[in-house]
Subunit: 249 residues, 2 copies
Amino acid sequence: MNLDNIRIVLVNTSHPGNIGGAARAMKNMGLRNLYLVAPHKFPHEEANWRAASAGDVLEQATVTATLPEAIADCQFVLGTSARERRIPWPLLDARGCAGEVAQRCANEQVAIVFGREDRGLTNEELQLCNLHLNIPTSADYSSLNLAMAVQIVCYEIRMVWAQGDLPVQADEQWDTPFATQENMERFYAHLEETLVALEFLDPAAPRQLMARLRRLYGRVRLDEMELNILRGILTETGKSLQRSRGDDA
Amino acid sequence: MNLDNIRIVLVNTSHPGNIGGAARAMKNMGLRNLYLVAPHKFPHEEANWRAASAGDVLEQATVTATLPEAIADCQFVLGTSARERRIPWPLLDARGCAGEVAQRCANEQVAIVFGREDRGLTNEELQLCNLHLNIPTSADYSSLNLAMAVQIVCYEIRMVWAQGDLPVQADEQWDTPFATQENMERFYAHLEETLVALEFLDPAAPRQLMARLRRLYGRVRLDEMELNILRGILTETGKSLQRSRGDDA
């Protein structure tokens, strides 16, 4: 997968802020080839401001007069589209498209084309595309901001690129080993003994107390340091109980 | 899954444009509960402008002085975080978090907390969260715009919400049935006959021509209307050939 073989093409963009926002969105996700087809205002200070540290993407952007010029050397072209079209065209959501892009961009030039803020791409422009791309939205308000659409598509490409590199377990990256079952059993024994000594647990009528505590600590998956802290508390509790009995005696 | 049980919480936002952009991003994905913790400028015309048709989300936003107030009634709280933290915390990427949110939001109040544009959330704020959320970015430029981060997270929630509702095949929604194998074989026979008549195909030395044509049309999966169009062309070609032979005779 070669992200440098992917270009983002913005057609007839009205607001320079969207060009800047798109440039930042691209660079955040590791893309850098921006093509601008007849932008209304470019270069523009609003684009620079919204690009933040992605000014280099704007500086290196290619401006063309027409869409065919911007995609002339591409082997695979995707166009963003609302879902309903008079003539259906091969259509995938952004995630499906990112999978297609990932397969192609190793050896081919890939273009992803975004239309005007108010009207998207024309039917003629969409018919230049191999595949149409749709981002699922709410029926109540389906019109995504242009830079946001670029962000989502670039993010989906990044997610494919990063696969295998991402944590799938919430506690995959941890600073202390998790407790072994053996140490957990020592802890539960220590806990039970302490609760009996505290007269919080009646061995004659234990009810579900230990089961509930096992469920609690089992669910949280204690690490060794946390286990040591809890056992330290139990040890201190035990000492304190012995002292108070010594005082009583 | 009840999207109305999810709130987006923005802490100490500096730029009102980001508040507006976040509101639009939310509404585009079907979310509407926005909480603003001590925003620098709100309400503000820049927020209204960027919200576009999501002005209602801004109007109904809840402003609080502190983060604990904004999340007081929540059972599950996620906080956005850069990936490296001194004390590791349960951490998932935006997609993993969306899965967690989907499971919880049927019956619980869920908050997703986003920090300041320049510094994110403090360690103290992050420790109020059950789970930390990280959006994968390029190491070259990892700082996402705030509204963009909100967009990606809301999009991932929408994707879970919409599962089963999305096309997984590019040609899943089509206006004409795809051709049966029987009709495809009739087409190939008609095509071969025509190519022989045209003397384009030599039956004595056919080489791989028909195999290549089968591969081409098999790959494209013709629909019945397209098949009729192609067979119409073959029929006309055949008539024209007969006429030209009639003229020759």
